[in-house]
């Protein structure tokens, strides 16, 4: 995401906190498409995805005052809420009721766990590199990451689904994220 957009987001979120509806429209126009796309990707259902978009922006509307722009971009915050809500809905659809504890949420409680805003801002080129790196991962690594990220499966659920020992899943996921991180890093230097 471009620096201007992030600055504009920071201004918009302050206005939203003060109840400015036009600023809300601005945020939707900048991020609605990505929020919808992620919800649709996870839920594979248009009506459910639309509900999630509505919930996420409604949460943003009521919690805008609590969002700390120094801790992360508005886009990252919206997408984190989207994934969390979409996966909760997916899991409740499957009869899995335990909520998924997201590291991003926990990060707020652990002093230095969340990266700087600078580190969080991925450009389109970096996203493309991560996407490309994901598609080149060994199938087991890629499926492990996708089952965790898009299907909200837990460590033991992934191990069971892929018929792998817990330790293998643990190692593969860490390796996969290291490779993706490397791909992202190449994008940053470019």
């Amino acid at each position: 995401m471009r620096t201007e957009d992030r600055d504009a987001d920071a201004r918009a979120i302050h206005k939203v906190a003060a109840g400015d509806q036009a600023a809300m429209a601005e945020l939707y126009d900048r991020h609605g498409r990505l929020v919808y796309s992620l919800a649709l990707r996870i839920l594979d259902d248009q009506a459910d995805a639309e509900d999630i978009v509505q919930e996420v922006f409604s949460q943003a509307w009521s919690q805008a005052g609590r969002h700390d722009v120094a801790r992360g971009s508005v886009g990252a915050w919206l997408l984190m809420m989207t994934r969390s809500r979409a996966i909760d809905r997916l899991r409740s659809r499957r009869g899995q009721v335990d909520p998924v504890p997201f590291a991003e949420g926990a990060a707020l409680q652990l002093a230095d766990l969340s990266p700087s805003q600078e580190a969080m801002a991925s450009t389109a080129e970096q996203v493309a590199r991560v996407r490309d790196a994901l598609s080149r991962l060994p199938l087991l690594q890629r499926l492990s990451v996708e089952l965790a990220f898009y299907e909200g499966l837990s460590h033991s659920e992934i191990a069971e689904r892929l018929e792998q020992p817990l330790g293998t899943v643990k190692t593969r996921i860490r390796l996969a994220l290291m490779k993706l991180r490397e791909a992202l890093g190449e994008g940053k230097m470019a």
């Binding site: 509806q21 036009a22 809300m24 429209a25 939707y28 126009d29 609605g32 990505l34 919808y36 796309s37 992620l38 649709l40 990707r41 594979d44 248009q46 639309e50 978009v53 509505q54 409604s58 509307w61 990252a76 997408l79 996966i87 499957r94 335990d98 998924v100 504890p101 997201f102 590291a103 652990l110 766990l113 969340s114 990266p115 580190a119 969080m120 991925s122 996203v127 493309a128 991560v130 996407r131 490309d132 994901l134 598609s135 499926l143 089952l147 965790a148 990220f149 499966l153 460590h155 992934i158 689904r161 899943v169 643990k170 996921i173 860490r174 996969a176 994220l177 290291m178 991180r181 992202l184």
Partner: protein, 262 residues
């Protein structure tokens, strides 16, 4: 699991939100005291964020905006309507092509892509080679999506297939979901004789139904994804050796067989 070396390895699962219960609590306690893991979790955050953005971009329905923006129709609504439908479609098409290698599609996207492709073809936007590349990429993407769909289906059942006769060393495994279809993998299948092909069968109480042809690699490995009729109830799965092109019902030797647990 008390070995601290094991704990250091949980960073990836934690960053993806895949730790639960006691394992989650134990790792968070570890994070409090382990700078190395804190740094690693922090370094994974941009990756996780990129994953959120890495999927195919789908344009939300216009009506959604009015549901989301409080007050619905204000000045911004008018300002932000896309000026030219054709240009917007082409821009959306470009983003679809860019993301096509990723490997996942929502059902809605299929219809959208078909529509886009018709429009693009009409506009003479594609050269022959580009078209083929896109079709191949889409096929690969669909396949990966179907595979993931079956593997994550709530009603997934596993069927193990044992090598028979000439293929005693071969083994196969099918993952079957009534709602989402079949993923089949096999290893150690003997090399195909000329003019022959392996054929996969879903055996129902009345008759075997073909689930496609198999062309193993030079090490006898093959993976395939097949749609199956949700109405059928398989009792077994089998692989036979058949004339090239396949047959409507099995005629050749059985190479792999597995019973579906009732």
């Amino acid at each position: 699991m008390n070995d601290p070396d094991d704990l250091h390895e949980l960073t990836g699962l934690y960053a993806l939100g895949a730790l639960r219960g006691e394992e989650h609590a134990r790792f968070e306690a570890h994070l409090e005291v382990c700078e190395r893991c804190r740094a690693e979790v922090r370094s994974f955050s941009p990756v996780v964020e990129s994953l959120s953005r890495a999927g195919a971009v789908v344009e939300p329905p216009l009506a959604l905006r009015a549901r989301v923006v409080p007050g619905g129709g204000n000045r911004a609504v008018v300002r932000d309507l896309r000026p030219s439908p054709t240009l917007a479609w082409l821009a959306a098409a470009a983003s679809v092509v860019l993301t096509i290698g990723v490997g996942w599609y929502a059902a809605q996207l299929h219809a959208r892509i078909d529509d886009l492709e018709a429009r693009l073809a009409a506009a003479n936007f594609r050269a022959g080679a580009a078209e083929r590349q896109t079709a191949d990429a889409r096929q690969a993407a669909d396949r990966a999506q179907d595979m993931l769909g079956v593997l994550s289906a709530p009603d997934m059942a596993r069927v193990d297939l044992k090598g028979q006769g000439a293929a005693a060393a071969a083994a196969g495994r099918a993952f079957w979901s009534r709602s989402r279809g079949l993923v089949f993998t096999a290893t150690n299948l003997p090399a195909l004789p000329a003019g022959k092909v392996y054929q996969l069968w879903v055996v129902t109480p009345t008759a075997p139904v073909s689930a496609g042809l198999l062309h193993p690699d030079d090490q006898g490995r093959v993976t395939t994804v097949a749609q199956t009729d949700p109405a059928i109830s398989p009792v077994a799965m089998a692989v036979t050796l058949e004339p090239e092109g396949g047959v409507p019902s099995p005629t050749g030797d059985k190479y792999l067989i597995g019973m579906v647990a009732p």
